[in-house]
């Protein structure tokens, strides 16, 4: 039952140690190029032809594309589990990213699976209303290799 109310739970109701496998995505060449045009205009990420002769021997996904997709999968997951719950509690903003590592290239057709674990909660109360939840997030490719990891601090509303 721990998956329920992910979005709308109070700070006090989110347990340290909770672990979720929350989404997967297969990256296409087209979407990789579209992302790179705006956010990483480097031939390795942008130009499939040129990339064959470059350091990875083919097109790879821009690193922040993997993070952007993490966010999309998280929002989709929150929406599913928040269905029918609307009691005024709000999800909060991100505060900081820590120790973000991109470990292996992601190529067209690769499928990433995203996981997170709640690792700590801060006792500080921010603007009389919010607490801070820290989660550890990882993405694995279809071979089971870790391709990305980071921690993120996010505000969660306190039940005061």
């Amino acid at each position: 039952m721990s998956e329920l109310y992910l979005r709308n739970r109070w700070f006090e109701d989110i347990p340290v140690g909770e672990f979720h496998v929350f989404g997967s995505h297969t990256f296409s060449e087209l979407e990789m190029v579209e992302f790179a045009k705006r956010y990483a205009p480097t031939p390795e990420f942008l130009d499939p032809e040129a990339a064959r002769q470059l350091r990875w021997g083919g097109l790879v996904a821009a690193p922040w594309h993997l993070c952007a997709m993490w966010m999309r999968k998280m929002v989709d997951y929150m929406e599913v589990y928040a269905q029918g719950v609307n009691d005024g509690r709000r999800n909060g903003a991100g505060v900081a990213i820590l120790e973000l590592d991109w470990l292996e290239p992601v190529r067209p057709g690769h499928t990433l699976t995203y996981t997170y674990e709640i690792v700590s909660k801060s006792d500080k109360i921010i603007r009389d209303r919010w607490g801070i939840i820290r989660s550890r997030n990882e993405a694995f490719n279809q071979y089971g290799n870790k391709v990305m990891s980071f921690e993120i601090d996010i505000l969660a509303e306190r039940d005061l």
């Binding site: 705006r38 956010y39 040129a50 350091r55 690193p63 505060v95 990213i97 505000l155």
Partner: protein, 165 residues
């Protein structure tokens, strides 16, 4: 006019391989400005972060942020793009970012904010997870056109070992 995100006109740089670059004496640089217009904020949000305060003006006005603002991930991605641009304008062949030790969002990025990366960098160290690259640690302050900080980032980037711009 600063370049807009949605122009799709970001320059794509190829480097000359086989002629090593020289570390500049001055270890600071900055990027040009990039404008975040409403459409590019909404486009990114529809693809990657479809929450009300990144999609809809009215919902955003009533939110924790107080106005339509960019996804923090769009800001992070632009911080890296502008960091690369600032390094290249200092003569350093930036390939990609491999680590972000910390990224702290200091305030929301609102419609029509102009982002500029101001960077300070160290000596390169040999080796990188990226083939044929060395590593460079960079401190980045992302500022608006009034010189107010929007985000701070410390990161490690891959720079081509044997190439010039």
């Amino acid at each position: 006019m600063p370049m807009a995100v949605a122009d799709d006109t970001a320059p794509c740089r190829f480097f000359r391989v086989g002629s090593p670059w020289v570390m500049p004496k001055i270890r600071t640089s900055h990027s040009s400005a990039i404008a975040l217009d409403e459409q590019s904020i909404i486009d990114f949000a529809q693809s990657f972060d479809p929450q009300p305060y990144h999609l809809d003006r009215n919902a955003a006005d009533a939110s924790i942020f107080g106005g339509l603002c960019a996804s923090g991930w769009q800001v992070g991605a632009l911080a890296s793009r502008l960091t690369g641009e600032a390094l290249m304008s200092a003569g350093i062949p930036y390939i990609t970012t491999t680590q972000v030790n910390q990224l702290r969002w200091l305030r929301p990025t609102f419609v029509d904010d102009q982002l500029i990366a101001h960077i300070v960098f160290d000596e390169p160290t040999p080796g990188s997870p990226v083939p044929d690259c060395d590593s460079l640690d960079v401190s980045v302050t992302l500022k608006d056109s009034n010189d107010q900080a929007i985000a701070e980032m410390t990161c490690r980037v891959a720079v081509a070992t044997d190439a010039t711009i």
